[in-house]
């Protein structure tokens, strides 16, 4: 079963469908036209470039280049996760990078070594495609996780200090915030796992089936990828919070204000 290639001209026809969002946006003045065009353009350019790049990557299939490219992907993912929080990128980039790298490489290698019978565990097809899938999800989880953790700690500082004054250890005082943020970060992953197959026929599976594989194989890969996503997401979220805590919370157990991007000066209660 060969996948039917789509002629470029026909693909252009897909873009004709964009008339619909265009029309809706005009009618209801959604002010989305600008971002509709830039997002579509960016997607096309980025995918075209990556398609070209992947072609060479797959042909070349050099372990170092593959691992190197995955590292580049991790850097970009970490950067966007950290940037969406209110913490300065320079302060927590390294700890976040360490946790993303560990979570991604650990899970991908586990799959490539023990689960998928690969001759070359650095095979681009698996390393980069699986890695990318995990990273995309870790990224989403971490955006929620880091932001929630530090935002809650900051807005809830009165209560946090109260708990410290009760004699709580660092771990005891921070645990409720860690718990909340990890739960929130994992919610989408768990929800999509629970409705898998019924509501969602996920991208991975669609891709594998369109790519000519048997639905049986597609389902096996889907199970594998969902477990991998869950494991790498929770690992990276928890590790990122634990490792960034060392930078963002001082030895007195107090959240440092200078790590925030809109750092207010030492501003604590003076009455």
């Amino acid at each position: 079963m060969e996948t039917l290639d789509i002629p470029v001209l026909s693909l252009a026809l897909t873009l004709l469908l964009l008339i619909i969002p265009l029309f809706i946006s005009l009618k209801y003045r959604l002010k989305l036209i600008g971002s509709l065009f830039t997002s579509t353009a960016r997607m096309i350019v980025q995918l075209a470039l990556i398609g070209l790049f992947l072609k060479y990557l797959f042909v070349w299939n050099d372990p170092f280049v593959n691992a190197g490219w995955l590292t580049v992907m991790i850097v970009v993912a970490v950067f966007s996760a950290v940037r969406s929080s209110s913490i300065k990128v320079s302060k927590i980039f390294l700890p976040a990078f360490a946790s993303f790298s560990f979570a991604t490489f650990f899970v991908v290698f586990f799959m490539n070594i023990f689960v998928i019978p690969l001759k070359n565990v650095f095979d681009a097809r698996y390393l980069i495609v699986l890695g990318g899938m995990l990273l995309g999800n870790s990224l989403r989880g971490n955006i929620v996780g880091i932001s929630t953790f530090y935002m809650q700690l900051r807005t809830d500082s009165n209560h946090y200090l109260y708990v410290l004054s009760l004699g709580a250890s660092r771990q005891e005082a921070l645990l409720p915030y860690l718990r909340d943020s990890v739960q929130l970060a994992l919610k989408p992953t768990l929800a999509s796992m629970a409705t898998m197959g019924i509501v969602t026929l996920p991208g991975m599976m669609t891709g594998v089936i369109l790519g000519g594989a048997d639905p049986d194989v597609a389902i096996k890969y889907q199970i594998l990828i969902m477990v991998a996503i869950l494991v790498s997401t929770i690992t990276s979220v928890v590790l990122t919070i634990l490792l960034t805590m060392r930078v963002c919370i001082d030895k007195y157990g107090i959240l440092r204000t200078d790590v925030f991007r809109n750092a207010r000066q030492k501003q604590r209660k003076v009455s």
Binding site: H159, S165, Y252, K266, R268, V270
Partner: protein, 211 residues
């Protein structure tokens, strides 16, 4: 023997000095009312001892040991603190009590709030209420109950009587000043504390003892 000591302590916020060259001894059993205009930085005295902020220069000592990043964790186990805008968190009052007693530092105490709640005229069914449904006065009294249940003998009371009525103010002030072995540092404008002969008043702005 001094329980709390400030030695030439200097503290500033945003370049504005809040505490200048403060030297102050608070001995065991002392009941000290810190008086001064609001906004003058009285509460920062308590924050300094609890290590929530650090002095720019000088020292803060607790039991003759400088408060630093290591000793501060023990200080927080020795002091019970009630703040005017204490935030008890979310969930039920019962849940809060369970959390407080689950902390390692407090695990050797039994947390039976009944008597204290009765003394402060809080109904039993309050335990099952949500913290956010309590009135300001109820929240304040609940914070007092918890602080006393911690079984500690150094108290930081920051405007604790602010949202109580006259008769309860008197009760609370009498309760804390009546215990000889308790050391109390009281930040308050309330004259109810001053009726008592055991209380010493420290003028925070002039940095002198008034009586």
């Amino acid at each position: 023997m001094a329980v709390i000591e400030f030695r030439n302590t200097h503290l500033s916020f945003n370049g504005k000095s809040v505490i200048r060259n403060l030297s102050l001894n608070i001995d065991k059993g002392d009941k000290v009312v810190v008086s001064g205009k609001s906004g003058s930085g009285k509460s920062s005295l308590l924050s300094l001892v609890l290590g929530f902020i650090q002095p720019d220069s000088g020292q803060v000592l607790f039991d003759n040991i400088p408060v630093d990043e290591r000793s501060v964790w023990d200080v927080r186990k020795r002091v019970a603190c009630i703040d005017q805008d204490v935030s008890l968190g979310t969930g039920t009052v019962h849940g809060l009590l369970a959390f407080v007693s689950s902390l390692k530092a407090n695990s050797h105490h039994s947390f039976v709030p009944d008597k204290l709640m009765a003394l402060l005229e809080l109904e039993d069914d309050l335990l099952h209420k949500d913290i956010k449904d309590l009135s300001g006065g109820e929240r304040q009294r609940m914070a007092i109950v918890i602080a006393v249940l911690l079984g500690r003998d150094v108290f930081f009371l920051d405007e604790v009587t602010a949202s109580l009525d006259k008769h309860l103010k008197k009760k609370v002030a009498g309760y804390f000043t009546g215990r000889e072995d308790w050391t109390c540092v009281i930040v308050s404008h309330d004259p109810v504390w001053l009726d008592n002969s055991v209380v010493r008043v420290f003028d925070f702005e002039e940095k002198v003892w008034k009586h």
